[in-house]
Amino acid sequence: MSDVSAGPLSVESLPGVASGASAPLARSGGAALAAADDRTLIEHAQEGDRWAFELLVQRYDRQVLRLALNVLGSAEDAQDVYQEAFLKIYRNLHRFRFECAFYSWVYRIVTNVCMDHLRRRRSHPEEQPPLVRQAHSEEQRDGDFFDHQQGNGTYSDPERQVFGHELGRKVEAALESLSPRERMVFEMRHYQGMKLRAIAEMLGTTEDTVKNSLFRATRKLRTQLEGLR
């Protein structure tokens, strides 16, 4: 069996977790700081060093935005999550006591903000703008989910193209049917490649609870996608 869960990001690949993190920006006098590890940056940021905090943000924000885009499927919502989550991180950084990995702490905040958005969306569906991925995504311009699955050269087959669109919409609809927690667990495990233990830590719950969420999510998806495969 191939490891299909290996998404574009795994915990091990999170920037800043490994030693010798890259320095994406270089400011005069700040090169040493840019090359510093997370702990040094966090300590500087906790003392009020704005530059250190910006470096921390840039180490994690790509993954945060990716997670928000995948879960919410909307650029506007993802942007909101980005702002809200990092502002929370900024305001609460003084409370971080190095009792867990910094990425776990960051993801805990981000996942909570994402789940709040999902809950709001479920309780007030009429207030939500249409999902970008369904209406204006590059996916539709470049080819649908089925095309990517099967490779190139499907545009010439209108029937197949229609079926691919249909399957893509079904997958999106199936993912939308998950509860916010199930959605987050599934996203983090399946598309972010995180281990269940790490997900449990980020969600502030037990591994068994996360497993149960994964089981429920999988069963729901299987039921919804049953007739399409």
């Binding site: 290996a6 991925r133 998806l221």
Partner: protein, 356 residues
């Protein structure tokens, strides 16, 4: 972990298998079971197929922000927000407590909560009414150091008006220090009116004396307050008579006790002496009897007062109490009083006896 792998729990293990959450050993166990069970093998294959289908989905992040323009936009927006947050003055308690902040908070709260607004209006109205009433009373009252003569146009209280006063129509307002309390009487009939003043006013004294006398009409609290208010006016025969009356007839021992206390210093008056001796002799409450006896003893010790003649019944009652009172303290103190009376007698022999 998978020692007990069977068809019943295979589904969950298949999910974990497809998710890549099982160790190599556990993966082997799952595959081994699937090799032996066709149903579980189909379930595992279906699970893997589902995973492949979902994995092949193009993730929204890959299409929505392929060029990372959105990321750049988010960053610049967030850092601007950070600039704004840093530029804001830090909140402190002094800032929270500024009147303007409170005013703004109230304004917003009331604007969005009509119920609160109505309740606040009622509360403000009630407070304003109470304050206005107090203010009116204050400006209506004579100013200290004002005119020497106070001319009152109100007519004296008639018996009919006194009878129309109820417990709820009397308000006694204690003043600071030793100042006499303010009294307000609401006379309901025949012509309703309000009489205000202090026990220095004859009408007020008259009314309070009426209250003290009528235990069946006024409650205990009002009677006790009235006695307290009249304490400084015990020289008034009308007040003394009312106190003596209360000492004799009031059903509440607390009122009787308070009446004795109020009559201290005035017990040279024959009617007061009579009332105190009556209490010592007949009151069924030992506390009242003790208080009456102590008042009598005080008077005996007071040289100035002792010059006035004692009631003729004093000796008889003291003897009776010494021999027959159920309370041992009263018996003992009565003996003391008799001894003191004898010594007073000896002292006064040259000048003649004071009592029979």
């Amino acid at each position: 972990m998978l020692h007990e792998l069977h068809c019943g729990n295979f589904e969950e293990q298949a999910i974990l298998y497809a998710a890549g959450e099982l160790s190599a050993e556990d993966c082997g166990a799952v595959q081994a079971h699937a090799d032996q069970c066709g149903r579980c093998a189909a379930l595992l294959a279906r699970e893997i197929e589902l995973r492949n289908t979902l994995a092949a989905r193009v993730q929204p992040a890959d299409t929505l922000d392929r060029s990372e323009l959105l990321l750049a936009h988010c960053r610049s927006q967030f850092f601007e927000a950070l600039d704004d947050a840093a530029a804001l003055p830090k909140r402190n308690w002094a800032a929270v407590l500024t009147p303007w902040r409170w005013f703004t908070g109230f304004r917003h709260a009331f604007a969005f909560h009509p119920g609160w607004s109505a309740a606040a209006l009622i509360l403000v109205g009630a407070l304003a009414g109470t304050a206005a009433r107090e203010w009116y009373r204050q400006i209506a009252a004579p100013l200290p150091g004002g005119p020497v003569l106070t001319i009152s146009a109100s007519a004296p209280l008639t018996q009919q008006e006194l009878e129309a006063i109820g417990s709820d129509g009397i308000r006694l307002e204690p003043q600071s220090g030793s100042a006499a309390p303010k009294v307000e009487l609401q006379v309901r009939s025949p012509e309703p009116r309000v009489v205000q003043g202090t026990p220095d006013d004859a009408e007020i004294r008259h009314a309070l004396a009426y209250v003290v006398r009528h235990s069946s009409k006024f409650d205990d609290g009002v009677r006790l307050d009235s006695i307290d208010a009249l304490r400084s006016e015990a020289d008034d025969p009308q007040v003394r008579a009312a106190m003596s009356d209360a000492l004799r007839h009031d059903p509440n021992p607390a009122v009787r006790l308070r009446a004795i206390e109020a009559l201290r210093g005035s017990d040279a008056a024959p009617d007061v002496q009579s009332a105190i001796l009556g209490a010592l002799s007949d009151d069924d409450n030992p506390g009242v009897r003790i208080q009456a006896l102590n008042t009598l003893l005080e008077r005996m010790k007071n040289r100035e007062l002792s010059r006035t003649p004692l009631d003729s019944r004093t000796l008889i009652i003291l003897r009776d109490r010494m021999q027959n009172d159920s309370n041992s303290y009263i018996r003992s103190r009565s003996a003391d009083a008799l001894g003191q009376l004898a010594s007073m007698d000896e002292d006064s022999q040259p000048g003649g006896g004071r009592h029979p």
